[in-house]
């Protein structure tokens, strides 16, 4: 248990920081495309795509900052919140949407939606376990 709390949580936090850093920088370099894709999302109110886009980028970078500051517990908690939301979001789009917008960049943008969902669910589980077993004295 101690080993888990010592290494697992930290590893997951670093993994999440890497994923969010990668995702946010690829989005940042294609910012207009990112806003455009979000604008097509069936779950974003009309005209709010840029605010939502900026919010997502800031939260993702905030997780990276928390990991950098060694605040593993809160980085995992926010990662979990983001990932569980993204998972439900993809699930919703796959089931209800006319059009599935992809606002991810790089490799993530090339994943199929089923694979994307699996990837997100796995990261959600990892961040949940990491948060539960995180035990910084």
């Amino acid at each position: 248990m101690n080993l888990i709390s010592k290494y697992f949580s930290r590893t997951v936090a670093f993994l999440m920081a890497f994923v969010f850093f990668y995702a946010s920088t690829t989005k940042f370099f294609e910012l207009k495309k990112f806003y455009y894709q979000l604008g097509k999302s069936p779950l974003i109110p009309y005209g709010y795509n840029e605010y939502v886009g900026n919010g997502v980028l800031l939260i993702e970078l905030f997780v990276v900052y928390l990991v950098y500051k060694n605040n593993i517990k809160y980085s995992l908690l926010i990662s979990f919140s983001l990932m569980i939301f993204f998972s439900f979001y993809i699930g919703y789009l796959m089931y209800f949407s006319y059009y599935i917008p992809c606002s991810c960049g790089g490799i993530l943008g090339d994943l199929s939606w089923r694979d994307h969902l699996i990837f997100n669910v796995l990261l959600t589980i990892f961040s949940a376990l990491g948060y539960v077993f995180e035990n910084k004295k």
Partner: protein, 360 residues
Amino acid sequence: MLTTVSFKFTIRLYNIIAVFKYLKMKKRILLLGLLTLSSLILIYCLHKICLEQNLKVGNFDRHLVNVEFKKVEEIILPIEVYSFAGFSENSVFLTSKKLNEIVKYNFKTKKSIIKKINHKNHNSNILGDSLFSFDPYFRKMYIYDANTLKFESETNLNVGFDRAIAVTKDIVLLRSATEKYSKTILSAFNVKTKSNSKLKIQLKDSLEVDGGLKTDGFFVSDNSSIIYTQYKKGNFYKINKALDEIKNFSTIDNIQNVEGVKMSSDSSYYYEKPVLNANLLTSISKDKFYVVSFVKGNSDKLSEFTKYRILDVYNLKTGKYIESFYIPNKGTEKTSDFNVIDNKIYLLFNNSIMVYEFNK
């Protein structure tokens, strides 16, 4: 003695720590549960908030029927196409995605011809051995030989228009604009005299000052009549080929209001926010009018409605609604255009046409 007490104390201390850890863990699991629930609630709220911007929802009930589709063939086209440009007895004509190519596929020889054109094929229809193509940007009509796709002639229509259909070889029906483009009117262009005249028959909301945005639609025709279906309103008009009689019918959604048309500083008109279509694709066959509707009815299941295209069927003589049914996708791809000929339905998907027989 002291060792035993110390040992028991240590055990108890470990138990207390374990319980403490367990309680802490339980608290964290509870927090994760609450966050999960919050995400679900957020998605649900966004779904409710955004539903109206994503879908037109009407207060009506469809008579949904089950239709059996039997796949007849899949036609693979040489390029990706956007829409059907017309059908002749043995062939189908298609417009490429950039609108600058016309593809002809012959059902008998199973061969395709691609014709590059130096304009855009916005509207087109087949009459006899000719394909009539219209480009509102150049304000011109182009005629191609329907057999070889060889260019035959071009005619300057001299008027601002956005939809057109060749009624006969000499008469073209136009959805044109008044001067200053503030209103839309129906007019007829005579190819022989090269003159354009406003028709007595007009759309009921034709003279609304909106730059023609609210009344925008598209023409389809069969041997006896022309149908003009409005994109954003629940209306379709039946026009006879003599162009002196027009009948107005409503689609079941009955949408009559299109909001958000504004005039910009240069006096052109625009939508201040995206307006969803009510109807988009249509076809006529055997006195039946088929229209792909984008308006969800009360009884339509949201997941089905968003995943498939729904066809509403009307009696073309009376304009009365008959029934509705879903049409097949190709995988998850929905058809970009369709046409019904007798008991066959032709569904267009990027670079292929799926042909089905159906029992309606």
